[in-house]
């Protein structure tokens, strides 16, 4: 078991990271720090844990999928 970390759209391009697996992390914010090597978090970055909107401080566990992305612009 591991934690899947995903990035989308402009954030994916800017950080040049699409998809990483990490062994463990206690919060979404810690997963961000591990994968981005503590890159500054843009103010408006959105977080989803297991396909639901969440916050950087929310707890995660092994097996979870954490995603980071910019404000959405669909429709």
């Amino acid at each position: 078991m591991s934690i899947q970390v995903k990035f989308f759209a402009s954030l994916k391009e800017r950080l040049n990271i699409e998809d990483r697996q990490i062994a463990t992390a206690s919060t979404a914010g810690e997963a961000w720090d591990i994968v981005t090597n503590k890159a500054a978090r843009p103010d408006n970055v959105l977080v989803a844990i297991n396909l639901e909107y969440a916050a950087f401080d929310d707890a995660i566990k092994e097996g979870d999928e954490v995603a980071f992305f910019p404000p959405v612009t669909g429709g």
């Binding site: 989308f8 759209a9 402009s10 989803a48 995603a67 992305f69 910019p70 959405v72 669909g74 429709g75």
Partner: protein, 145 residues
């Protein structure tokens, strides 16, 4: 109730017509409100020649289905169809289709307006425009325009 994410161009009127024929809405619906969002060839005064719509596949489908459930809780709806395009989009191609069926007009009209804003401001899609001056991610959808 149905939602689809499509990578190919679609004919919104054909999809609505087909959905209505396939789903036995019978003769209980008196009102159908629809909204189609289409790609324009200009935005912020810079010519846009094409667009790429990225999304978060697993979350997108789930999120749209959740929006449909929430709309059904808020309004007395007989059916809802949502179609959203992803991938490479050319000007004049439809991006989003929302259709709501109800017995009385207010439910379908209000649900349709609400779903537009939710899809624009909450569903995980991202537009990147191909412009004369290069590619650019759209940073923010306009508020209610």
């Amino acid at each position: 109730m149905a939602s689809r994410i499509l990578e190919q161009a679609f004919d919104p009127w054909q999809l609505i017509s087909q959905h209505q024929a396939d789903n036995k809405l019978s003769i209980q619906f008196g009102a159908t409100a629809t909204f189609i969002g289409t790609m324009r060839d200009f935005n912020d005064n810079a010519d846009v020649s094409a667009m790429t719509l990225e999304h978060y596949p697993a979350m997108t489908q789930r999120y749209i289905d959740k929006l449909i459930d929430e709309a059904k809780q808020q309004w007395d709806l007989l059916d809802v169809l949502i179609v959203h395009r992803v991938g490479n989009i050319k000007p004049a191609e439809p991006i989003m289709l929302i259709a709501c069926w109800s017995a009385h007009r207010r439910a379908s009209l209000d649900a349709c307006s609400w779903l537009i804003e939710e899809l624009k401001h909450r569903a995980p899609f991202w537009k990147k425009e191909v412009r004369l001056d290069g590619e650019r991610w759209v940073e923010k959808n306009t508020d209610g325009l």
